[in-house]
Symmetry: D2
Amino acid sequence: MADIGTIVAEITAEMRGATERGRVADYIPPLACVSRDRFGIAVVMADGTLHLGGNAEEPFSIQSVSKVFSLTLALGMVGDALWSRVGREPSGSAFNSIVQLETEHGIPRNPFINAGAIVVADVLLASGTPAEAIAGVLRFVRSLAGDETITIDARVAAAEQATGYRNMALANYMRAFGNLQHPVEQALGVYFHQCALAMSCRQLAMAGRYLAHDGRDPATGRCIVTPQRARRIAALMMLCGHYDNSGEFAFRVGLPGKSGVGGGILAVVPGTASIAVWSPGLTPKGNSQLGALALERLAAATGWSVFEACSGL
Amino acid sequence: MADIGTIVAEITAEMRGATERGRVADYIPPLACVSRDRFGIAVVMADGTLHLGGNAEEPFSIQSVSKVFSLTLALGMVGDALWSRVGREPSGSAFNSIVQLETEHGIPRNPFINAGAIVVADVLLASGTPAEAIAGVLRFVRSLAGDETITIDARVAAAEQATGYRNMALANYMRAFGNLQHPVEQALGVYFHQCALAMSCRQLAMAGRYLAHDGRDPATGRCIVTPQRARRIAALMMLCGHYDNSGEFAFRVGLPGKSGVGGGILAVVPGTASIAVWSPGLTPKGNSQLGALALERLAAATGWSVFEACSGL
Amino acid sequence: MADIGTIVAEITAEMRGATERGRVADYIPPLACVSRDRFGIAVVMADGTLHLGGNAEEPFSIQSVSKVFSLTLALGMVGDALWSRVGREPSGSAFNSIVQLETEHGIPRNPFINAGAIVVADVLLASGTPAEAIAGVLRFVRSLAGDETITIDARVAAAEQATGYRNMALANYMRAFGNLQHPVEQALGVYFHQCALAMSCRQLAMAGRYLAHDGRDPATGRCIVTPQRARRIAALMMLCGHYDNSGEFAFRVGLPGKSGVGGGILAVVPGTASIAVWSPGLTPKGNSQLGALALERLAAATGWSVFEACSGL
Amino acid sequence: MADIGTIVAEITAEMRGATERGRVADYIPPLACVSRDRFGIAVVMADGTLHLGGNAEEPFSIQSVSKVFSLTLALGMVGDALWSRVGREPSGSAFNSIVQLETEHGIPRNPFINAGAIVVADVLLASGTPAEAIAGVLRFVRSLAGDETITIDARVAAAEQATGYRNMALANYMRAFGNLQHPVEQALGVYFHQCALAMSCRQLAMAGRYLAHDGRDPATGRCIVTPQRARRIAALMMLCGHYDNSGEFAFRVGLPGKSGVGGGILAVVPGTASIAVWSPGLTPKGNSQLGALALERLAAATGWSVFEACSGL
């Protein structure tokens, strides 16, 4: 196997030249104006070695990737009680589908579809006002990444709030079933702001390290979550992290991952690495086209896969 | 960590005494008459060491666990061309749901729901008559397990054929969309017979070894499938192996697994072990109640999980 | 045939004594506190003769019956252009289902399910502010009934507005598809107020006369709508007026009708009579239990049915 | 109003020249080879006067129009007990949809969608062998039309049987829920043969007279069904006779009608007329394009509508 740095450089070069780059999300102006040319990758190894490629230092809107962090926080607050309000199964539907909520009485299938993440945001409001809950998410992500410069892009949050009718529909629908405990506006306020987190690939890969290392920050040894919880969050990422394209991602990449409509994907190789990729062009199913391709290349070149016989028979 | 043999013995003892054992499938007499008291487990390690517990040598109807083997065979015959006829996504629905077929034009979501496995059976018919295709499946499974005594229970196949109206509906429905190339009766004949494979936990664990070892039989070094294909089949097991309970299984057990309505589950620990459990009592979602619990206990006691940081930070 | 007055009196007596009266809607307090004992009926013949029974003079919340009047107004404003924004087919689903909106891109199946009526309310906003649109509905209904004492129950409208999460979900969902042109709050404001119209059976039967008489008020000869439009509104009532119980109502009663969750039903016998019944106890599908039974009795006793061979062979 | 004969002649002339004629059903050869140029109409008045236009004497495959006659026969055999096995509501779905059967446990929504008509065919098998049941349907239709020359087109029935996978799926699916009492092949045999009835517009209009005249044959005074049953069948035609286009037909034509994929439509004007039209070109929803247009023209020109104020205010 070539060394990781070389592999990352080769992948970056390939993605630079790629012509089929997907379509940039255009439902809000701050996302629509991001250049389709961007591609970034960051791989942080267990020992802290960092491999960067392309626009790895440029912040982007992490959008739904944030759902991993808000879920972690909410589980810290209410533990397994969360699972009475949100399921743990793939939905078989698009990220913003409302159909399943009707037959399943306002309980979203999992915490990574929009409806589920709104429930998680509602849980976070137990910690205080919307502003306090949002500050808590930001503080947590900064702490995970060890980087106090991470911010929330207020323009993105405002644009989501101004046009997010479908999320308002989801929230109101769950409220009708009693599955939101705070005013709809507050839960959505937290949700829209967490999605507006702006992070670079480097920051995102750093923030995701605990998921690759049994819940522990390998740099400091600090325990973020228990090993069991880390594995369970990874399991949810594997099964539900790419909406109705999760099977495809598991099939091609073989790693737990979570994508966002901003074009970012966080993926982890248990015991080995935390990886963030970013390219704003999306597939029709709403996942980063080059991001997923880069991860497929990386997995193929390194042999990284949770299904690999790591003892190397 | 206690040694595997001790863990297996403890789990067997716990399952012996368990009072909540689920409900035995009763839709056909040969399954209904199996005693709910049965529990078996077999763990075969990379080096061939075998740990058995309970009724590990008693054959049972593997039912849908067989879909892993028929998929492997079909991929060997037609390769990735298979994926134009069956998807790779969790369905979000029950094993025998027909709803998704209507909106998705007769293409089943994945090869492990009934509809998908019937397509796979149709592919196997390219090898000859129904009898020849069935013989091919039996030969393959015997070869994988290294055990020529494995048989197909003709009574089970006959009972399925006599009452399998829902599968006949699925098959006819796909035929209407042109997604079966052979007569419905023939595809169902192959399907019902493969499901009627009778195997013990020991035999099943032996047969599953290639999935734990990058496609290779670790005893002989023989390559059954490529490493990539082995990992991809494992990915499908992880995401779709327990129907609409796959998320729960991944969350609790963290291993690729495939369940059957006969109460068997095959699970693999990449690089480490192949495991078969059996207990005929089912949960309401149709998976072995004690089988899944035993695997959860085993994963917890050993730390086995594809999401574990195996480097042991 | 006994005379209508006698029939009405007999039906009233039967309903008085009925023990299975259904369940009063309890989702908002102002509806929940209505006595289940109430029953009223009003039949106004083509010549203006009025037959009243029970609590025919007591105002109740007409709720979804109002959708007939708002549809009439909206068609007067935009004509057939309305039908690009709302369909004309039975939905096969409950009154507040959101499922169909997802697959049909925010276009409700018909103007009598909640989603469709919210679109109609949005159309009415073309006439001015929400207050003006609401005043327009009230003025229209007063004029139809020839009764300036009809009012809107502000407590009911306020209670709907405070708890109507499901309608807010529907409205936001359609807004996401661009099928509302005014702010969600305004469309819902109009909708909640029109549903809060308080009318007695007598007033309601009077207001519905134009639908029984080819669009004309038989008392004054004034043309409210064209004959074609009157028949078409009646057709929509027949096919969609009782949500997913419309088939049952057509089967048992055989007349165009529109029900409301307040327990009222308006039905028309073309050329012959306009009928309003009211009893607040509802069937599980949300229609007045005794109201529908009274209409079935009335139709049986009089032979009134749009499917009757009126030439009396 | 012009006289009916003149109106029928004018409509026939218009349809002759129509250029948008829809698309002939091509799923079986015997239907596909019918010329798109055909158009026929037959109107039989209460007094027996017959107005014919175009190819009114040419037999065509009545297909689903036959469901009206088989329903009438089945109700005669088992009465209202039928309604425990099939519903009375519009489905909101296509004629051959299987989705609703899954959530509603094998009970079809109404007797006019394919699934419902297969249940009705299963009921008819209580009368004897499939051949006897088919003979019974033929005898009944001949008797209604007063025409012993009506036949079943064996080629059509054979072609349906050879390719009707979707109907086989529906039948097997209902069998799985216990909602068929005879072998699937037998129920389908009856169903396919009744659909293969070949009748001309004249014969079909004659056969439908009892539905326009309170259950009585106006020529002989013979009672076919009670007035109540005749009205109820007409109500079902009105609500469900054109599948998911029933609302549109009611809106435009305002009469109870039943369409077939062979391009025929039977419609009745209670007390006044029985009408059959035929033109093989279909709309995308599977109803005769010119047939429906001809009925719309006829209704507009005559004022015929069940929603008309027939007292002529």
